[in-house]
Symmetry: C2
């Protein structure tokens, strides 16, 4: 792995008092890799502050250099530990890294992982690392939006790699993983449901599979099961399965090599650029849908006429889809005499 930090460290950028930051100042700070500007920008993104939209708008032309890796899998398989270990490995290699955790079960929030072995607090002073646990209380739509915006900010800040951790047990987390270039599915012995979901086609086959807790007696059995039951090939890419053990930092080189191999594969065919374009389009559509939903929610909450409609449905005077039709006509002026919006 070649060492390639793309920008000067934070110390090169002059400090600006927090209250004075405007969009241009924040964008300049982020571009220069200023840690506080970065933290502030992402906080504003999470708060859906109007300023955040201006900052991201200003930064957007500077994005596109970071490589985004999504790590997903059931709770309890050690995704966070794997992310922490990958982070160390990437830092040893001179890469700057942004970490976003959108897993409500992640221990990233309290900064203590693997007891004393890998303390994330070690990285909190490293200007080339930025870690943020995204709030997961809101809508998935709002969360996808905040995650995408935060990834763009980290990208513009010159991070070489962005790691996104998210919990997933079946249906693909399209929203949050929609911007990842490589998706790593983390499993462990005992992940029977996820394997059934993969076999049944309910869960999409990822780009790379990591079997964590490789010292577990059933790890090799799981490896054999995956190899014998799944079609581990997609559009010419053979999905590698890597055995890891985050606590011992074992298999991390191999895992990263698998990610790099996937990247090289995508780049060689021009697919990286094409996939990014497709995903950006899909993202715009998904975010617009999520916003339309939020708009609808607010409209229904504040409109006594719409509240009356719901009461009619509850009392079986008006059927649900006729109510839906009336709501849509009222809120979005969508009409459709055949009942289809």
């Amino acid at each position: 792995m070649p060492s390639s930090p793309r920008r000067s460290p934070a110390s090169a950028h002059p400090r600006v008092p927090r209250r004075d930051w405007d969009a241009d100042g924040l964008a300049a700070g982020v571009r220069a890799g200023d840690r506080r500007a970065l933290a502030r920008a992402i906080t504003l993104v999470e708060a859906r502050d109007p300023l955040a939209y201006e900052v991201v708008r200003a930064l957007y032309p500077d994005t596109g250099s970071a490589y985004a890796v999504g790590l997903t899998g059931p709770p309890g398989v050690g995704k966070s530990s794997l992310v922490a270990t990958l982070l160390r490995e990437l830092r040893r290699d001179g890469r700057s890294v942004g970490v976003l955790s959108v897993d409500p079960t992640s221990p990233f929030t309290n900064g203590a992982l693997l007891g004393d072995r890998i303390r994330l607090t070690d990285h909190f002073l490293d200007p080339e690392v930025f870690i943020r646990s995204m709030g997961t209380r809101g809508h998935l739509g709002g969360l996808s939006e905040a995650t995408l915006q935060s990834m763009l900010v980290l990208d513009a800040a010159g991070k070489d790699v962005i790691l996104v951790e998210t919990v997933g047990i079946g249906q693909s987390e399209v929203g949050v993983l929609g911007s990842a270039d490589t998706v790593v599915l983390v499993l462990m012995p005992g992940s029977g449901d996820a394997i059934q979901a993969l076999k049944a086609g309910v869960m999409e086959i990822p780009d790379v599979i990591a079997i964590n807790k490789r010292n577990h007696p059933a790890a090799k059995t799981l490896l054999q099961e995956l190899r014998s039951t799944l079609v581990l090939e997609r559009n010419g890419w053979t999905i590698p399965i890597v055995l890891t053990e985050a606590v011992e930092e074992a298999g991390i080189d191999e895992l990263w090599a698998a990610v790099e191999a996937h990247r090289a594969f995508l780049e060689a065919s021009g697919e990286l650029e094409r996939a990014r374009r497709r995903r950006l389009g899909a993202e715009v559509f998904a975010l617009a849908s999520a916003r339309a939903k939020t708009h609808l929610e607010r409209a229904v909450a504040g409109d006594p006429e719409l509240a009356r409609l719901l009461a009619d449905v509850e009392e079986r005077r008006l059927d649900p889809l006729s109510a839906v039709q009336e709501v849509l006509e009222r809120v979005f002026r969508i009409e459709g005499s055949d009942g289809r919006a």
Copy 2:
């Protein structure tokens, strides 16, 4: 279980040629329990035919008597077999039953379950049973809509019980299970991911848990694990865990007794009615959101101006959220100078 078929069998209703059915005729046929009218109405619902909306509108005042039970769980745990066995049990007891399968992995479509032991085809001639596997290719939104509408049709047709089978491995399938009075989560030894998801609060605790494949050596261990690690109480209801073995028809009485106990609990407190009202409201909102999304998709597909916007995003001339804002203004006339719709 008291025997209580609410309406006369299909043979009482005069046959009408298929092509001549209009909304009133179809609604009358469904109300009378005519099997062909029922099949036709649900086919129209699945096809999103305008006639279907009229039929459901006409039938809606006649709904509210059926009890809806959702069975969810990871693929491979035997949900379909459990549904088939429950169906037999309910028929022995004189209940009329509607079955909707919205699980893409369900074997219901080919009518052969458990080899020769329980042949669903036996029920295909039973006028008190109606089984339909819902297509799962479309949007989740469209599927939820078709499922809700089909449940209303089955309800108006006088079915005592409606069983809805759906695949779920983590995040709750709010859309499809949104109309179920009692949700049964089916697990088996090896469902480690689902249990982690329950523990972590990523998956909602259901109303009843069934551990299928109870003859498996680890079934008792799973039972103990669930009992010792989950909070099996919610608003005064203690979540029962039942051990079943669908192939041997073992534990099915206990499972149905648990569902009936939950129903009695909901009815005693008046919560059944309140929960149904809440769910209907939520359903209207969810369906309106899904429709708004479909509308958006069609609008974007057909509008060269919107296609140009997406191209600008892909070429990094316009940031994604500015594009979202423009799309929303154009399609729904939603405005928001702060970038929030």
